[in-house]
Structure formats: structure tokens, C-alpha cells
Symmetry: C2
Subunit: 191 residues, 2 copies
């Protein structure tokens, strides 16, 4: 039986995106975002949504650039912390024993310990209610060499990212590979 | 060693969102979208990006509503097919042995066999390049009763959704639970 449960933000497979910005004093800050994802192929763009009350929001307005860092499973605790505390009160890099590296292409910090980072330039800002959506054009992708596969692309199995289930408020790891994409055939085509 | 690999849409943990729309003749259509995700809490909104060449794009302009259906792992093949073929040429419901049910709240079809669907009303449209982003306000969430947990919320373990790795072009299942969200404490706070 189908049941209506009302308007709820219970998407199950949200990404965990750690947003890196500098503040007005050039202090690096990071914040976890689960409302976000890829939104364009060419130019490649990532959308992230941030509340106006967040320190990251101020930093985004100031610099109009950000990094999207993807943590490995072993950093799930540190990733969660970055969404709980504010950069106004804490140096979230130092408190988490994480290292900020200045991104070469934009004025935003990369988390050294996280295997992959996207350097993004804000190209759109959309007011949505509780959140403001920032659309960032990906200018560069910075990856630890050891997590690249033989094609020179980041390997999900080596990176071990994780997702956030907003219905249960719980983080989950990635499981086994299923099938290749864009490959399935309709019965008609197989005949 | 960090290595720059350029501007690439290699987000690893993309959702698999099956977008349901009716066409001008009221034929139900479905299409897989990996560029998307939650983008606002109140009102709850989902962003999806669609190419202008897609039949779904026409249907979205026509009706300004859509459903976001989340398939279980056992439907990964059917989900993939909906991204490969066009509703202009095929009835993707019939060809996949899937059943369209009219959503009660909006003029869009739900996939009966998929355990959860979000009924969405388009509130913003943003041109981004290859893709147009549609922001849909969630009007209702329709869930199979058997996948609800004791709190009346959809259970990721019962639904068994999966993700799309756009670097490897491969679908992956969800793995084990890690930790609860918004719960981690800084060293300072623990002392």
C-alpha cells in the first residue's frame, strides 16, 4: 500500500560535501553540506545550499569561490563535526587535526587529508527559503595521486566516500558495484 | 601528492532519481537523472538538471510538475534504461514492465514498483549550459508502507537505494551504517 507522509526532505542518498572557504581575515573554514550535487555537465557545475546564518555564507558572498572536498569513510566523525560547529567560534581545521592548503586556482582552502577536491567559482545564487543555493562552476579537480585509477580518474573504491541519509540522520558507506551505466538495453532492442 | 586533473564532473556519490512526467497526450514517461539532490529544507525542495533535448524537458515545461522516484537496487537495470532511451520513441513504463500510477496531488505519474516518490512543483528554472536546472518544491512524499520505520519515515535499509559514480560510469549499492549525524563533538567540548 502506498502512503502519503507529507512534504519531507527525506532523500536517502545525499552526498557529504565539505565546503572550504576563507573568511575576511583569511582564516580557512570548512562546513559539511548534504543539500547539493552535480547540476551541469558543460561547464561542470556543483550546486550547494547553505543557510544565511552560516559563517560559510558570509565567506561565499565575500570571495565568490569555494572548494568541495570529499572525505573518506575514516573521516566521517570529522566531517560531521564541521556541520555542527561554527567557524565563527572555532578553527575547525585545527580542532579536527586537518590541514588547510591554499588551492592554486582559486582563493579557497583544500582539506589536505581528504582525497578529492573541486575548486568552484560561484556563477549563480538562488534564494530558496531556509537555504541559498550557490551554483559553482568547477574550475579544477585536485586529487591524491594514489586514488586515481588506470584511466587517471578518481576511484570510488580507493576514495571510500560515504553518504548521508537525511531520513534517519545517519551516515552510510558505499557498498558493492552493481552494473555499468548507460548500458542497459530494452527487450525490443535485444530481440 | 595532490594532482590537478582539470574541470571534470567526477562527483562520486550521485543519486539516481527517476523523473516522472506526463507528455502532451497524457502518456507517462520516466527518465533517470544523476545531476540533482535536495536543495532546501523549508519548503523542502529537490533540484534536478535535464538537457533541453530530452522529452522530459518538454514535459516539464508543459506541466511544471514532476515526481522523483527512488528505485531499489533490484531495479538498477530498469533505472539505467530510463536514462538511455527516449520517451519520444518508447513507452518506458511498458517496455520495463513498470506501472504508472497518477499522483493524487499533482499531474505526474508515480512508478508503482519503486518504494518512494516525491511529488514536486517547479518553482525555479535556471539555464546552466548543457543542462537546465529545475527546482521542485516537494508537495508530498508517497511511500510503500512496508518500507517505513517505526517513526513513520522511509528506511534506507528497507528501500535499498543505490548511487551513480559518474567517474567510473557505474552504479553502487549502499553499504553499512557508520555514525549518527549532527552528533560529533570537538575535543574541546569533550574535555
Amino acid at each position: 500500500m502506498k502512503k502519503s507522509i507529507g512534504a519531507k526532505p527525506t532523500m536517502l542518498t545525499n552526498p557529504v560535501l565539505i565546503i572550504g572557504t576563507y573568511d575576511k581575515d583569511n582564516k580557512p573554514d570548512i562546513m559539511a553540506v548534504a543539500w547539493g550535487g552535480m547540476c551541469n555537465s558543460m561547464p561542470p557545475c556543483i550546486a550547494i545550499s547553505v543557510r544565511k546564518s552560516r559563517y560559510t555564507y558570509e565567506n561565499l558572498l565575500l570571495n565568490k569561490v569555494f572548494t568541495v572536498n570529499i572525505p573518506s569513510e575514516k573521516y566521517v566523525y570529522e566531517a560531521d563535526i564541521t556541520g555542527v560547529y561554527s567557524g565563527r567560534e572555532y578553527d575547525k581545521f585545527a580542532e579536527n587535526n586537518l590541514t588547510a592548503i591554499k588551492c592554486e586556482k582559486i582563493n579557497a582552502p583544500i582539506v589536505k587529508e581528504f582525497p578529492i577536491a573541486f575548486a568552484c567559482k560561484v556563477i549563480h545564487t538562488i534564494e530558496l527559503g531556509t537555504h541559498i543555493q550557490f551554483i559553482g562552476e568547477i574550475i579544477d579537480t585536485i586529487v591524491d595521486e594514489e586514488v586515481l585509477n588506470e584511466k587517471g580518474l578518481p576511484s570510488i573504491e580507493k576514495i571510500n566516500p560515504f553518504i548521508f541519509d537525511s531520513a534517519a540522520n545517519y551516515y552510510f558507506s558505499i557498498g558493492k558495484g552493481l552494473i555499468a551505466g548507460h548500458n542497459a538495453k530494452l527487450k525490443k532492442e535485444k530481440e
